[in-house]
Point group: C2
Chain length 187, copies 2
Amino acid sequence: MKDKKKIVLVSGNLNKVNEFKEILKDSFEVENMKLDIDEIQSMSLKEICEFKAKEAYKIVKKPLLVEDTGFFIDELNGLPGPFIKFFEENLGKGASIKLLGNSTNRSAKQVCAICYYDGKELIFEEAEMNGIVSNEVKEGEGFGFDFCFIPDGYDKTFSELGLKEKNKISARKKVIDKTKKSLESSA
Amino acid sequence: MKDKKKIVLVSGNLNKVNEFKEILKDSFEVENMKLDIDEIQSMSLKEICEFKAKEAYKIVKKPLLVEDTGFFIDELNGLPGPFIKFFEENLGKGASIKLLGNSTNRSAKQVCAICYYDGKELIFEEAEMNGIVSNEVKEGEGFGFDFCFIPDGYDKTFSELGLKEKNKISARKKVIDKTKKSLESSA
C-alpha cells in the first residue's frame, strides 16, 4: 500500500481542521499548522486564497492547503463577503441579522474556497450553498454565521441542524470534496 | 532657499492627491504615483498603512506617503471601518445609510491615517472627525461617504458643504497637518 501523501493545512480553526481531516483521510495525511498570515482586502476569495497560499508556502515549504469562507448577502450586493469574520467578531452570532435590519430579501450564500500550493502547482476550488438569513439567532452547534443561516431545502439554521448534519451539506464539505478529487487526479 | 524635500504620495485618488499637494506645498514637493498594492484585512488603519508603506517602498525606493481612510459606525461596533470602500463600490453613495437601516443611533466617525516611510524611519499619524450618518443621500461635491456624513457642529453633509469647506475641517485635513509637522520636526 502506498504511503498517504502529506499535506499541511494552514488554519487556526479546529472545527475546520477536523472537517478537512475527516473528509481527506482516505487519501491524505493532513497536518495542521497555525500561521499568522496577512490576508489581502478583496471581494474575491480566489485572490485572497492564492495570495495566502503563496505567502504560507514561503514559511511551510511543503504542499499545503489554505481556505477561506465568505458570506454573501444579496441585499448588500454580496457584502460582507470575505469580511464576514470582522462582522462576527464585532457584532457576534447575529451579525448578518443586524446588517439586514428589516429587509425582506434575506437571500444569502455561504461560499467556501480552498487553494492548494506546492511551490509549482496551484489548484483553486470553490463551492457555494444558497440559503436565507434567519430573523433571529438560533442556538445550537456551530460557529460564525451557522446561528443565522438557513440552507436551501431546510427550515433550520446550520446551528440547529448541528455540525454532523451541516458537514454533510455545507459549501465547505463540497469544496473539500472537489479539492480531494482535483488532488487525486493531479497526483 | 533650501530645495523642498521630495515625497512620493502613493494614491490613485486624484481628490486626495490634490489635497495633499495643497497642504504640503510650502515644505514638500509631492509627486504622485499610482501603484497596485495589496492592502491587508484588518480593523486597524495603522496595520494597513504600515504594511502598505513597506510594500510600496520595495517598488518606489524613495521617501513616500500612503494613506487610508475608514468609516467607523457606532451601531455596528466600528464596522465597516477600513472596508468602507467595498461597501461604497457595491452599494453606492448611500452605503452607510443602507447599513444602518432604521437604527436611531447614527453616530459615526471618519478616521484618516497616513504612514511615511523612507526605508528607515516610519511615521504614522491618524486623525478623526466625529459626526452622524444622514437619513438620506445628499447630493453635492465629494466622494465616498461625503454624501451621507454630517460632521459634528454642522447640519450639512460633507457633500453639501463642498470640497473647499470640507477640506478645512475633515480628518484628512487634520492628519495631513499632523504629518507635515512630524516630517518637519524629523527632517
